[in-house]
């Protein structure tokens, strides 16, 4: 099986690290795109070990530091052989090339915000109208959260994605390297509501912007 780490551009040398199962990293050019992968003899299973996740992440991180642009691959999709990999790349070559250009010179930051009562607690309502009223309040509180936390950061990003969570939202930001310092400053200076839990992480390789379906 072939395990893919990412599609890269301008990679000078393969990093001095091993891939999953201690396999050596390999590189191959297809359709003007460069792929970095490793071969594994273990069959794909439904369970993914934390170790595999961390190993994959480390390889992607190392590649990101040595490339002009990278599209990190999602863990869990193995290819039976070189032929299957080549077919898959050929089918998406145009999209991959576009995505590479979009992420060039950028890193990703993430935001996760939760409010204890934003949507988790079942409104202990007595009437149907009360129930909807509480739901409406929760929705408005969430909108307020988004406006205070997400929008100031979105303005500094080249692209963003955002999704609802049961009790808040999470978002990802594609930030050009030259804007990173400004972004960090904005992230640490956000106007938080006292009851909100907010986590900002990064810089990550651009996982959330590696395909066109995102934002």
């Amino acid at each position: 099986m072939i395990h893919l780490y990412g599609v890269v551009d301008g990679l000078d040398e393969l990093p001095p690290v091993r891939g999953l199962d201690g396999a050596p990293l390999e590189r191959r050019s297809l359709e003007g795109l460069e792929l970095v992968f490793s071969r594994t003899s273990t069959p794909p299973s439904a369970e993914v070990s934390r170790e595999a996740v961390l190993q994959h992440a480390q390889v992607v991180e190392e590649l990101a530091g040595r490339s002009g642009a990278i599209l990190p691959a999602q863990l869990g999709h193995a290819f039976r052989d070189d032929g299957e990999l080549a077919t898959a790349v050929r089918e998406q070559a145009a999209q991959l090339a576009r995505c590479l250009e979009r992420v060039r010179g950028c890193v990703e930051f993430g935001l996760r915000a939760t409010v204890a009562e934003a949507g988790d607690a079942v409104p202990e309502a007595e009437t149907g109208a009360d129930y909807l009223r509480v739901r409406l309040e929760q929705a408005r509180r969430l909108d307020g959260l988004v406006a205070r936390l997400h929008e100031p950061l979105a303005r500094l990003a080249r692209a963003t994605t955002r999704q609802r969570r049961p009790d808040g939202f999470s978002a990802a930001y594609l930030v050009a390297r030259k804007d990173v310092a400004q972004f960090r400053e904005a992230a640490t200076g956000l106007d938080r509501a006292p009851e909100a839990t907010v986590v900002c992480t990064g810089p990550w390789p651009p996982y959330s912007f590696a395909s066109e379906a995102q934002s």
Binding site: E47, P123, A129, R135, P166, V199, T201, G202, S211
Partner: protein
């Protein structure tokens, strides 16, 4: 990864809620819904409940929108609200019955992201 600490830009508030989600991620593998016959029922329940949850959220959101724009009568608001309240309670019961967590009610559609 050695530099995980370098990836934290800022954090505020009670982290226990968020940290607890880590237990679920490596189990909720996106692509394959179960390989073990004993877990078939749970896997199917997860799929069905996810879809019901999607519909519930869509409908509730629609009702809230109509409520805000004032295009629902008081009677409609009351009836809809009661229905959604019951549905919400029933969903929680079913989810608990199948030993699922709220975070399990989701589908990863690969490139299309998460359903919910």
């Amino acid at each position: 990864m050695s530099e995980l600490a370098d990836k934290l830009v800022d954090v505020e508030g009670d982290l226990h809620r968020i940290a607890g989600e880590l237990e679920h991620l490596p189990e909720a593998f996106p692509r394959r819904v179960n390989a073990d016959p004993e877990k078939v029922e749970k896997g199917l329940a997860q799929l069905v409940l996810t879809l019901v949850e999607l519909l519930r959220q869509l409908m509730e959101r629609q009702a809230l929108r109509r409520m805000e724009t004032g295009t629902l009568t008081d009677e409609q608001i009351e009836r809809l609200g009661e229905t959604f309240m019951k549905l919400d309670r029933r969903m929680r019961e079913l989810t608990e019955h199948f030993e699922l967590e709220e975070g399990d009610l989701n589908l990863n559609l690969g490139p299309l992201g998460d359903l919910l």
